[in-house]
Amino acid sequence: MAINRQLDTLDMMLNMGPQHPATHGVFRMVLWIDGERIVDVEPHIGYLHLGTEKLCEGEQYSQIITLFDRLDYVANFNNELVICAAAEKLMGLEVPERALYIRTILCELNRIASHMLFYGTFALDAGAMTPVLYAFKERERIQSLFEAVSGARMMHNYFRIGGVKQDLPEDFYDRMGRLLDPVKRTIEEADDLVTFNEIFLARTRDVGAIDGKTALGLGLTGPNLRATGVDYDLRKAEPYLLYDRLDFSVPLGDRGDCWDRFWVRIREMEESVRLVEQCLQQMQPGPVMAPIRRISRPPKGEVFAHAENPRGDLGVYLVSSGADRPYRVKIRPPSFCNLMSLKHMMRNAYVADAVLILGSIDIVLGEVDR
């Protein structure tokens, strides 16, 4: 119609971030909006660039672990695991079984803590302010446990090449006994409070949907990929640690929308609780550190190791020249790859959805910008 062409409006450029409460860190996206509809989005990253990969080339292996703590600062144990696993693979190290159990427990607990943070902040993005406090209540419990085990609430520096720093504290079992039941209750509450709430469903169902094929093409991993129905979980596909001995299922979505991504994460928390319970039952006393020299010098060679992080597939490509520092470390950060789907998900969404879609991808800027 001729009249409409005359009335055509210009798109408005809306600069969201880096100082915006819903960008989960210093992330900036430029939205081109037509009224409340998003026409195009342009993500800008790099505000939190640490130079981790370059720093790794100048640090000893024991020091690199502290750098990996700071990549995905919500799931520190999982990051430590990958760099340790890479070095161990290169050195052909056999890690003691108890250390493997400790690593599994801590990684799964960290997955719960990370997904709890997601649950809280995603609900906060959706406008509900209470879940974030319930989630942090459980996250705090888990972090206190981490404090008792590793001495730090977040930047643990606990995993070592060949094992873990020290054995679990004596009161660990008591603490675990007190920890898991409230976590389970909070997950149930999450279902009542958020997951099946009408308003929440209206906000998230069919919002930011992406199909499995596109998702695979974009390199999506982790819960974001599983929400589209693609059954890819490294813990099943290439079992590492002890996942081949443990019984757990991989929750899958089918529409790949924001709600599926949320639901998959909530269910993953339940599975993680089950995993931790199984580990606690099976664990036997024993050494926690392989007999190695204090300063690791992996032999000359190249290795790729990856693991299922709460956010997806964290990979490390390690090139060693035989020295006590790596020649090159390349990190494949899941958040960064997941962020690439932003444009696909946001097309034709509303401004309010932009916040939710970004929240549902669950990025950690420390890892995106590294």
């Binding site: 119609m1 009249i3 409409n4 409006t9 210009l10 009224g35």
Partner: protein, 163 residues
């Protein structure tokens, strides 16, 4: 005495607002001056004890219509209006305004000016009764007109959205 002062106040508000509407170069300001003017008119209604009319004036003109106008203005770009202040149509506008002034002046001169204003009271009941008996058909015609306008607006908006 008090009412006279209030009348002048309301009148000044209405007139001042009107002058502001045509005088200002900023369209958003113009819309808000219109609101001031309409509020002045509501005040005059109040002074002649037409409370209901005054409240309707506030509700419909003050609330709804001004907001729709502002809404439309905010969706457009201000610089588009920069050039529209001066154009060559002003003689026609002046003529139209002059004509309107004479019509009103003539009507006022012919009306019974000196009689006391009859107290109307809130009169909601009488208003309702006359609206639904004596003036039922005009009332319905007006509603149909509004309905048509509403549907038309929706159709235009939808067509725009689909493109």
């Amino acid at each position: 005495m008090t009412s006279l002062v209030l009348f002048y106040l309301a009148g000044a508000l209405a007139l001042g607002g009107a002058v502001g509407v045509v005088g200002t170069r900023n369209v958003v300001h113009a819309a808000l001056f219109l609101l001031v003017s309409l509020m002045g008119v509501a005040g005059i209604f109040l002074l002649v004890f037409a409370e209901f009319l005054a409240l309707v004036q506030v509700l419909l003109y003050g609330g709804a219509i001004i907001i729709v106008v502002l809404f439309a203005l905010m969706l457009t770009r201000l610089q588009d209006f920069g050039g529209s202040m001066e154009n060559r149509q002003w003689p026609i506008a002046a003529l139209a305004a002059l004509g309107l002034f004479f019509v009103i002046a003539f009507a006022l001169a012919r009306s019974r000016g000196s009689e006391e204003t009859e107290r109307l009271g809130p009169g909601v009941q009488e208003l309702g009764r006359s609206l639904f008996t004596q003036w039922a058909i005009p009332f319905e015609v007006a509603s149909v007109l509004l309905l048509v306008a509403l549907i038309g607006a929706i159709v235009i908006a939808r067509a725009g959205g689909r493109e």
